[in-house]
């Protein structure tokens, strides 16, 4: 509809005001493209364990960056560039999974605590506070231990640590939206709590959630990589970036390329999400932590 186009134009305008966020969008689209078409982009997909085809070439270990291996090779002679390319998949999947889970839990909790309130709300927010009282990485470490290290478990651990942030964000938003008269108006019509929470309030807190989602994608990728780095995330030979840095660190400083390039990949991915998130923050004009 015309108005749709109008508001899309408005968003596009605000977005264009901020070239950095366009850069962010470009980076993320690039990452998604790379992740989806990794087998076609990577020159040595089997080096990243693609299709379960194992390929090691110990004779060609630690080749310096060259035309054939722009990022060099690792201790098993695998092409680091290909592995970094495939690593995109893990980081994106990790981010999306973690945040989907976190939003799936955190948003309803925040909605209920914020709108229904009462003893239940207080209890929920106290639980949330407890989770928030430990820095996320540290809590994720503690949660990851009993789960045993693997990429999947790292994702679960981070997700468990993450939902309270959404609960708190949504709670704060709900508490302010709750006072808006349209919520009361809806109640005055006889709408049920569920309807009010999900049909009236939720759409109004989507903007901050979206912004936080984008910013948190970067942060989740960072934490996932951190867990991988400490050996509690994806396990070798998974070409996960953090894990690769951790593996490569052993070979510093001689094989500097091993740790450097996966790190660069993390940096770019996180930067992309941060830039985009910041742009969205401007567009939606919300402040999220």
């Amino acid at each position: 509809m015309e108005n749709r186009i109008e508001s899309a134009k408005r968003i596009a305008y605000r977005f264009r005001q901020n070239p950095l966020s366009l850069a962010g969008l470009a980076i993320i689209l690039g990452l998604v493209f790379i992740a989806v078409f990794a087998p076609y982009i990577a020159r040595h997909p089997q080096d990243a364990g693609y299709m379960g085809e194992p390929a090691v070439d110990f004779a060609n270990r630690f080749a310096e960056p060259s035309w054939e291996h722009p990022f060099g090779t690792d201790q098993a002679g695998r092409d680091i560039l290909s592995r970094v390319i495939f690593g995109t998949r893990y980081s994106l999947v990790l981010g999306v999974f973690v945040l989907t889970f976190a939003i799936g839990i955190g948003v309803p909790v925040g909605l209920v605590a914020g709108y229904v309130g009462g003893a239940l709300g207080t209890l929920l927010m106290r639980i949330t506070d407890v989770f928030l009282s430990v820095p996320p990485l540290v809590l994720a470490l503690a949660v990851a231990v009993p789960l045993q290290p693997s990429l999947r478990n790292a994702m679960i651990a981070i997700a468990i640590v993450w939902w309270p942030w959404y609960a708190r964000l949504v709670y704060g938003e709900v508490v302010s939206v709750r006072e808006e008269q349209f919520v009361e108006a809806s109640r005055g019509i006889g709408a049920s709590r569920i309807r009010i929470m999900f049909r009236e309030i939720l759409p109004n807190v989507l903007a901050p959630i979206t912004v936080k989602f984008s910013l948190d994608m970067g942060y989740a990728i960072l934490i996932g990589a951190g867990l991988g780095f400490l050996g509690l995330g994806a396990q070798p030979p998974t070409p996960e970036w953090g894990t690769m840095i951790s593996e490569g660190r052993v070979y510093l400083p001689a094989q500097w390329w091993y740790s450097t390039f996966p790190g660069l990949a993390i940096f770019i991915a996180v930067l992309g999400f941060n830039l985009l998130g910041d742009g969205l923050r401007d567009v939606f004009d919300v402040e999220v932590k």
Partner: protein, 525 residues
């Protein structure tokens, strides 16, 4: 030697690294030459001599504490006298009598007496920590008594042929001193009589040892022994590398990566010791689960692996093939058993003999996360087994999880890559815990191997005191086992240590603790 590091930013802080012993507060830091720095990534959990268990702790223990017997630096190592000048075993094969030397004194000046020995053994058996498991079922405090000042009698609870080989790991402490202080005292002080004494322990950073001039033993004659030994704990491998480069460190531990050793090797002033001794690497196969319960499948796999690449590329030559279950540095090794080599035709032939098709077989290979060599071997095996159509999945797991997994045949993985370590210099140390059915459920027996004949032979060898008879039994065991191929006998890895060329007298005989007998080292400039 002893030249200034090239990149010092100031006198007190020589470039990289968690400092070094040189500038230490002991007052003798000016003389670089007399100080030996052993740099390691591992920190001790305890330095109570009755609590020590790992290599680092044992290095500390053997250097600071004497024991009744010691090992020589030969390969294979031989038993030599420690605090003992004479020992004898009675006809019952269970009663040993030890005569102590009379010139040994503890670091505080007290003489070493038979009572101290009795106390030490009692303490060991009561604390139930560290190496005490060696004597479980063999020694009890009741059986130990002081006949006189210098004579100790030990009656073991059963006939246990390897007993005498275990004694080098039993440190003797000063009863009076230990009793006078609380439990924790031994963490910052020593109560030993050994060649070195503890002067400083900064937890997780360093142990500083000082030479004991009153030691009864002999110092090396090739040069000056080191007056001070600093055991520097440097958790970062890169730092150790740097310290070796700047000559802040003299000896490294064996846990560094190949690359680091390569770099050390390339240094003018340092080299890498790469003796192949007692680090056999096995890939256990689950003998009680399909399809690996079929000996043909196990053999097929044994023939499929590209051992050459493992030795040449993954380990860069720092290893030898393992022939049968026993490393050949151990006496009793049988060098006539089959040495599996890559032979795909053979492998296929064995597979054909089994009821399985390669494509049907899916296996999980579990290795200790962080151990790159085993990870790389897994990667290689993936490729190798794929040629038989077998799918191999890799799974890294932390060590604690692996020890948990193998307690139950259900949770034990199809394949486990595990290094066996030895404790005492006796074939029993490798064979009994790994292949005897009574040992099932431990990390050493992850193949759940069961062979009545082997069980019987291993039992007999334990109660036979006669060395030659024992050797015969062990050789048969090796034959039987190689035929059964319960595991891939992959390689015997060299233990690598970086070592500065100025350090003389260094011999790696692969023995826990004794491979770093600081009293045998000297500064050769």
């Amino acid at each position: 030697a002893g030249e200034e590091p090239e990149e010092g930013i100031d006198d007190d802080d020589n470039g990289n690294g968690t400092g070094n012993g040189n500038g230490n507060g002991n007052g003798n830091g000016e003389d670089d030459d007399s100080s030996l720095v052993y740099a390691t990534t591992i920190a001790p959990s305890t330095i109570d001599p009755m609590g020590v268990s790992d290599n680092f702790e044992n290095i500390y223990a053997v250097n600071v504490y004497d024991s009744l017997m010691m090992y020589s630096d030969d390969t294979p190592p031989e038993l030599v006298d420690g605090l003992v000048v004479e020992w004898d075993v009675a006809d019952d094969d269970q009663t040993y009598e030890f005569t102590l030397r009379d010139d040994a004194t503890f670091h505080n000046g007290d003489p070493v007496t038979a009572d101290d020995v009795v106390y030490s053994i009692t303490r060991m058996m009561e604390m139930q920590m560290g190496m005490s498991w060696m004597w479980a079922g063999t020694l009890s405090p009741d059986g130990v008594s002081a006949v006189d000042e210098t004579t100790v009698e030990i009656e073991t609870d059963r006939t246990f042929a390897p007993f005498i080989f275990t004694l080098p790991y039993h440190p003797i402490v000063n009863e009076a001193e230990v009793e006078a202080n609380d439990e924790d005292w031994l963490q910052d002080n020593d109560a030993g009589s050994g060649p070195y004494q503890l002067v400083e322990h900064v937890r997780n950073e360093r142990l500083v040892l000082e030479r004991n001039d009153d030691w009864w033993g002999e110092w090396p004659d090739g040069g000056d022994p080191f007056d001070e030994v600093v055991m520097e704990i440097v958790p970062e491998e890169g730092t150790i590398n740097g310290m070796m480069g700047s000559q802040e460190a003299d000896i490294t531990d064996e846990w560094l990566s190949l690359q680091t050793y390569q770099e050390i090797e390339s240094m003018d002033h340092a080299s890498v010791s790469d003796e192949v001794t007692f680090s056999p690497l096995y890939v256990f196969m689950h003998n009680q689960r399909e399809p690996l319960d079929d000996v043909n499948v196990r053999k097929a796999i044994s023939y499929a692996v590209d051992y050459e690449t493992i030795v040449d590329d993954i380990l860069e030559g720092n290893a030898e093939r393992l022939q049968g279950p026993l490393p050949d540095a151990m006496w009793g090794h049988n060098s006539d058993v089959t040495l599996y080599d890559r032979d795909l035709d053979q492998a296929q032939a064995y597979l054909d003999e089994s009821p399985y098709d390669g494509e049907d077989i899916e296996l999980t290979y579990t290795y200790v996360s962080g151990l790159t060599v085993t990870e790389n071997i897994g990667l290689l095996m993936q490729t190798n087994l794929a040629e038989l159509g077998i799918t191999l999945e890799l799974e890294g797991a932390p060590w604690t999880r692996i020890t948990d997994m193998v307690t139950d045949p259900e949770s034990t993985s199809d394949m486990h890559a595990i290094y066996l370590s030895f404790s005492y210099v006796d074939p029993d140390t490798f064979l009994y815990p790994a292949w005897h059915s009574d040992s099932h459920g431990s990390w050493e027996s992850a193949s759940w191997y069961h062979n009545e004949q082997v069980d019987q032979l291993l039992d007999d060898a334990r109660t036979e005191i006669d060395q030659d008879a024992r050797i015969e039994m062990y050789e048969e065991v090796q034959e039987l086992m190689t035929e059964d191929a319960p595991a891939l006998f992959v390689v015997n890895e060299a233990e690598l240590y970086g070592i500065n060329n100025r350090v003389g007298g260094y011999v790696d005989n692969g023995l826990v603790g004794y491979s770093k007998a600081f009293w045998r080292l000297y500064n050769q400039g």
